[in-house]
């Protein structure tokens, strides 16, 4: 294990992942601390996926779905938003800062936005410090 920040990004294939792909095509640099996990829709993400990421040593987790009212599956991003909120409530009751989890809405043509999201999450981890669960994983 290294001291590197570990951020897990669950990215919707149509929104977040496509934006990340476009960021690459546009040659925009962003932190390599992010681990992108492609999912068919943000609505596929369950609270359990978020909690498991933390138990396996993530410092922060974000879900990047399509823009609101623009979900390929109509309401998957709304579902994801509620699950992120649910995960925050659980993490708060456990004693983990809720700022470590966030939901973003990105369009596939917003290649510039994905690196901005990564920067935002990296900056949050810098402020909050490594996840308190790191000591257990390591």
């Amino acid at each position: 294990m290294t001291d590197r920040t570990r951020i897990v990004g669950y990215c919707c294939s149509y929104g977040g992942y496509s934006a990340a792909d476009l960021a690459g095509v546009m040659r925009i640099r962003y932190s390599s601390d992010v681990m992108v996990i492609r999912v068919p829709c943000a609505g596929r993400i369950d609270v359990l996926h978020i909690l498991k990421a933390f138990r396996h040593g993530a410092d922060a987790v974000f879900v990047a779905g399509c823009l609101e009212k623009n979900c390929h599956y109509e309401y998957g991003n709304f579902e994801a938003k509620k699950r992120v909120e649910h995960a925050r409530r659980i993490l708060s009751s456990i004693g983990i800062e809720t700022g470590r989890v966030e939901m973003f809405n990105v369009a596939s043509n917003q290649g510039w936005r994905f690196p901005a999201i990564v920067r935002e999450m990296v900056s949050r981890v810098e402020k909050l410090g490594p996840s308190p669960l790191r000591k257990v994983v390591e």
Binding site: D46, V47, L48, L51, K52, F54, R55, I90, L91, S93, I94, G95, I96, P132, L133, V136
Partner: protein
């Protein structure tokens, strides 16, 4: 269906403090419908407890199981391999399921992970409403199919009261007045005459009177001979 809600995680953690081998046991019936104790919620609670344990240096070994119905001993009996060797079982079935578990595994500590509140139905996704108080003396035939016992804040049998305003209840302005609903329902059915029928003081003896209420269906009760013949009956 029975409606229940998960206890706060902090409370569950306090209850199981001092135990080491923990089983989270769910039920795939009512509590799965109200998203409190089904297979998914079992996974979520178990994972939350693992995170809590990791963070707070607790040596908890947490396992999971969900059965079809925790209120029936036939299903509860099948849990034996998972229950044996556990210090404590967090039952996230309703209070009935938790008690059946305790009766079946008297040597294991069974603790509730849910607060069981009422009997009701889903109104819309994520919203569940109490519909029946289990009073044991149903009057739905007189009240247009709407229960005045639980849906009227004052359980009035001859309502509405003076606090009914524009079809809403004075206790909570978001709650429909049950007696307004009853009137509207009877009107739709062409039976408004029923609202003029005075319902006499209710017989509360069939409701929560003195002891656990036991219901006996003689045609289904096993004779001693049948009990002996039936394999696996305790």
């Amino acid at each position: 269906m029975i409606i229940a809600e998960q206890k706060p995680l902090e409370e569950i953690c306090r209850i199981i403090e001092g135990h080491h081998k923990i089983l989270v046991a769910g039920c795939k019936s009512c509590v799965a419908i109200c998203l409190a104790g089904g297979e998914k919620e079992v996974g979520l609670l178990a994972e939350s407890l693992r995170l809590y344990a990791d963070l707070n240096d607790r040596e908890w070994e947490i396992s999971e199981i969900t059965v079809e119905r925790q209120c029936e001993k036939e299903w509860v009996r099948e849990m034996r391999p998972s229950v044996e060797g556990r210090d404590v079982v967090i039952s996230i079935a309703c209070g009935v399921g938790a008690q059946v578990m305790q009766e079946h595994y008297p040597d294991v500590r069974i603790v509730p992970g849910l607060n069981t509140s009422s009997m009701g139905a889903p109104e819309e996704p994520g919203i569940f409403l109490e519909k029946c108080g289990g009073c044991g003396d149903c009057v739905l035939h007189l009240t247009g199919g709407i229960c005045p016992i639980v849906r009227c804040a004052k359980s009035l049998l001859n309502g509405p009261c003076g606090g009914s305003q524009n079809g809403k209840c004075e206790v909570n302005s978001e709650t429909p007045c049950a007696w307004d609903q009853i009137y509207q329902s009877l009107k739709r059915q062409g039976r408004v005459d029923l609202i003029e029928k005075v319902i006499p003081p209710k017989n509360w003896i069939p409701s929560m009177s003195g002891s656990p209420r036991k219901t006996i269906r003689p045609e289904a009760v096993l004779t001693p001979e049948e009990k002996k013949a039936k394999e696996g009956v305790d």
